[in-house]
Symmetry: C3
Subunit: 433 residues, 3 copies
């Protein structure tokens, strides 16, 4: 049955090389260095930051975000016992392509003398666009080929950049930490793809769909780096000064409160009050997601802590009770539980943003309109994600992209050369179609 | 025997949720963003830094310290073969609570219009207060329940903040890198707790009280991040400019010299001249501890190197010869050897500070008084640590905090759900009281 | 046969302590803090940066480079199944000594009132000099004793600093990201040493000369940190402002393009189109090496991407086809394949620098002379490396430095105490000469 071959020898190299060559050509035509001179147009945020004299002011923030993308997301997914190479390796591949593609897709909306002028600010935004793909990757982890994932990357980044433009420029909604346009978008996009790629045979748990002791420790590297640097994620593109300090502070305390509630609820719902690594690895981060939209608003440190506290509870309960229901009743097999880490906390963040804008109504005549725009931004992000993810999932389902057969899911050996006795002992002998 | 139950189902969630809710209420009453305007009071260091225009100037330093707290301390303790989940996981829990509690406890001494105004500087100090708890955690690692550890966190941070205020504001002693008020304090506090929790049954080595190959590699992640970012720890709250550069430089070279002496002595005292991972993981860091007090003084790079060189020797010899004696003769079972990494090098740092202050006597009339104040600061830190740790240990010894029975020490499976064959093979079947 | 003893009990401690004491004395004589005042001489780069007011401006860049040296290089080499302690542990030892020695060796060329005045800029350069040793370490990994490696460190840093001075001050060649003076130099130096230490008995693959599943994941920690922070490596000592932004941007995109081509070619040349971890761990970084020389030149983002794209292809092909030939035909056993990651991409970077300088000829009368100087810099780096490495290898071959016998190569247990069942199961019983 050659149509289902997982042999990537020709299709993967051809696709990867072609994409990169096209990207280089697009860069030759459209991309130049930021020379510090700007026309009068462009997003207000962008303009503000780029007026600064030292073009590297944002560089430490950029590097924090960079670590979240490549170490954070990459290692968070290494919890699977035999899928660590793919988790961190394909994360690197997808992110490396996505940041190039994202720079083009985002930049085309804001050409400056016909050029996209690369600054640290634009590099941060390119890394942000990458995050959506990596969130969706979590939903389909273990069940897709590198070719399928590259296709998802192209489509998701493209759709993301349309929604982002709509939310930021047309609706003028606030989403500094991107609860809606990255987290909710990435999660529901990935869930829609996962629904399209539903595999009935995986309803009964797959032997490799779980962790071992050391794989859970590798995943904690990802968790802790994400947790530490989330204040940078939520503040990197905030207005410098007090707004940026508020974004850092709110995120720092939201995450701290989230840890306590996630641990407490994990213990409460588990056998004999034990803690569950899945909750600790993921739900402790929900506070960063949920405080995103209103990170740079004057909600008070305690306001941020309430958001984080609630997010930790919602996320942990989601992992315990909702994920099994989604899989068994709706056919949505969400490998990493992105619905609990990014989906629900992202919506919570969007709602918190609406509430925050409304509660400032004594300060601002247009607050009702602003709240409506925040709501429209949330709806737009969810709509683009679900429709875009469904279409993308249908395309990914075409039978010639090398999708792994059910019995080879969650197993590096189908796409990676393995050497060494330890590996051989774990199932290199498995059949490959 | 229900009083000794390790089932945490009720007591841990209730304690964690209650603490977080109380903390949020305290934040609502006392904590606000730093608005950049200040009254005339407060520590001179604080005032100095907060006058800067960009409130995020210290942010990269803060993130380095943050990495030390969460990755550094967390992974350093993963060297135990079956206690990695607790090491990095409880480290995250305790630190997330401690930084909130520390911000309150430290801030109450310096209210500004009745408020604690959060700045990056205050976040760094909150992270610092956290370090004391994590050091003490190392002394009792593997032998305490999460409930006991949360209680220790509350008490230790509270006592720490009293001693810190006394040392910095009343004695006006210099301890920029906190050799005395964090390292010596945290170590002797933890040793006092460990003495109170003495377990005669663990005198003969426990089967899980040791490392395996990969657990030692995970621990090296912690070691290396601590080692790299220690210059940030010792300089983060120094006066900006030359003082801060000196703090960075002194720490950098002290650590480098310490590595050479730790390796040399490890080889000298071990079987056939081999190196011991315990020494490498810990004693290589002693130079950062010992240079802390005088990091921002003009001791010359070679002066810093001498301090680091001596610290590496003292620390390695401590691991080899002193730790076994403490355990067998004094009933102090110091799991991570914090006495060797933080205790003795911390005292060494305090003494180096006295010597440094005295040697500048031609520059300063009040140097004798200053030296006396440095000595008083060291004595105060040790006194508060030993008395505070003893009281805290007595409270932790009460029989209803879920302390693990001897046979389940150093074993994640008593507090963590485990899945996967590898785990099952290692002792999930163990009895739980 | 006592001359071949691998017992390090006396020789290693004596050497390490002696070196450190000599270094401290040299520091006492020659090294002082940077006070911000400078004479009129010194490298133009140096002067430029050090005129800045805040002496810590470069500190975040320094810390990124620091992470590359200690985490990046250290963990990249942990891919070997039983050599992780040595990889990350000896990396720490060698780097800690090298940065002290490098500061002296580089600083002696630029004395300021008879002193080397330490600044962050000089600390970055000291870390750079360290990189050459760590690259060479990769070539001889698993086959050398700590004593041999310390000897290599002294000699290599000394020779490096002569070549660096020649290239930067006499030839005035541009090599901001050090493709030539660090990467090509370190690689060919290491290969020359490896040639001298050729072991015919290792022609047939050694049982420990390979990876296991988790060792490959540890190595990915190194890979990803190197990949993320390479823009800092290539821009740290660039002129601040636009030049530095170009260096960051070019490196960022070169690396991104390199990932795509490395993955594609890995799949193309492997069995059934699978990916090979060796390629992913190493060849994805070749873009950072190759863009080094012209990182701060106006080659356009697409120009940088072409360099990275080619480097990824060359490097992957090198691992697949050239490394086996070097080992079997030339007697060069290159454990980590540094020829493919640093050697060929370094030369490629040098050539790209020549081409870039020539193509700017309409801007600059002296471009032909500049191109010739770039060529001379490349030739000088290769010449010093090959001659220096050969002499160093001959000295390292003397029979009393504790070199491991063939059967104990690639095995931590010969130089490290090991505890725990897992370790014991893997070969602690091996004979030691």
């Amino acid at each position: 049955m050659p149509a289902y071959s997982t042999n990537m020898r020709l299709k993967f190299p051809i696709l990867a090389l072609t994409l990169e060559i096209i990207t280089i050509i697009l860069f030759a035509v459209f991309v130049d260095y930021d020379d510090g001179k700007h026309g009068g147009h462009g997003a207000h945020n962008t303009t503000h930051h780029e007026e600064k004299k030292d073009p590297l002011t944002l560089y430490p923030m950029f590097q924090d975000v960079h670590v979240m993308i490549f170490i954070g997301f990459g290692f968070l997914m290494t919890f699977l016992k035999r899928y660590g190479f793919s988790s961190v390796g394909l994360n690197l591949l997808l992110a490396a392509f996505a940041l190039q593609w994202g720079l083009i897709m985002q930049g085309l909306w804001h050409l400056d003398d016909g050029k996209i002028k690369v600054s640290i600010f634009k590099m941060i935004n390119a890394d942000f666009s990458t995050a959506t793909v990596l969130i969706s990757f979590g939903a389909v982890l273990g069940k897709t080929s590198p070719v399928q994932l590259l296709i998802m990357t192209i489509l998701e980044i493209t759709i993301f950049s349309i929604n982002e433009h709509l939310v930021a420029e047309i609706l003028e909604a606030n989403d500094v930490g991107a609860s809606m346009i990255i987290h909710a978008f990435g999660a529901y996009f990935g869930l829609a793809v996962a629904r399209m790629l539903y595999r009935p045979a995986l309803r009964n748990s797959h032997e490799n769909d779980g962790s071992v002791y050391h794989s859970d420790l590798f995943a904690m590297i990802g968790t802790v780096f994400l947790w530490m640097f989330w204040p940078s994620f939520n503040s990197a593109i905030a207005e410098s000064g007090t707004d940026q300090l508020m974004a850092v502070t709110n995120t720092y305390f939201s995450l701290a409160a989230c840890v306590l509630s996630a641990y407490a609820v994990s213990s409460l719902v588990e056998h004999k009050g034990k803690l569950d690594m899945v909750h600790i690895q993921n739900a402790t981060l929900a506070g960063g997601v949920a405080v995103g939209t209103c990170a740079d608003m004057d909600i008070g440190p305690f306001g941020a802590m309430i958001i984080g506290f609630v997010a930790g509870i919602v996320s942990t309960l989601g992992f315990k009770f909702l994920t099994p229901i989604l899989a068994s009743n709706l056919g949505i097999q969400d490998t990493c539980g992105v619905h609990n880490l990014h989906g629900m906390p992202g919506i919570l963040g969007g709602i918190a943003g609406i509430v925050a804008v409304l509660s400032f109504s004594h300060l601002c005549h247009s607050s009702l309109r602003s709240a409506a725009m925040q709501g429209a931004a949330l709806a737009s992000s969810l709509g683009f994600a679900l429709v875009g993810g469904t279409i993308t999932g249908l395309i990914m389902k075409l039978p010639f992209w090398g999708q792994p057969p059910d019995q080879n899911c969650f197993d590096d050996s189908i796409y990676w050369e393995e050497e060494g006795e330890e590996s051989l002992a774990h199932g290199d002998q498995k059949a490959e179609a």
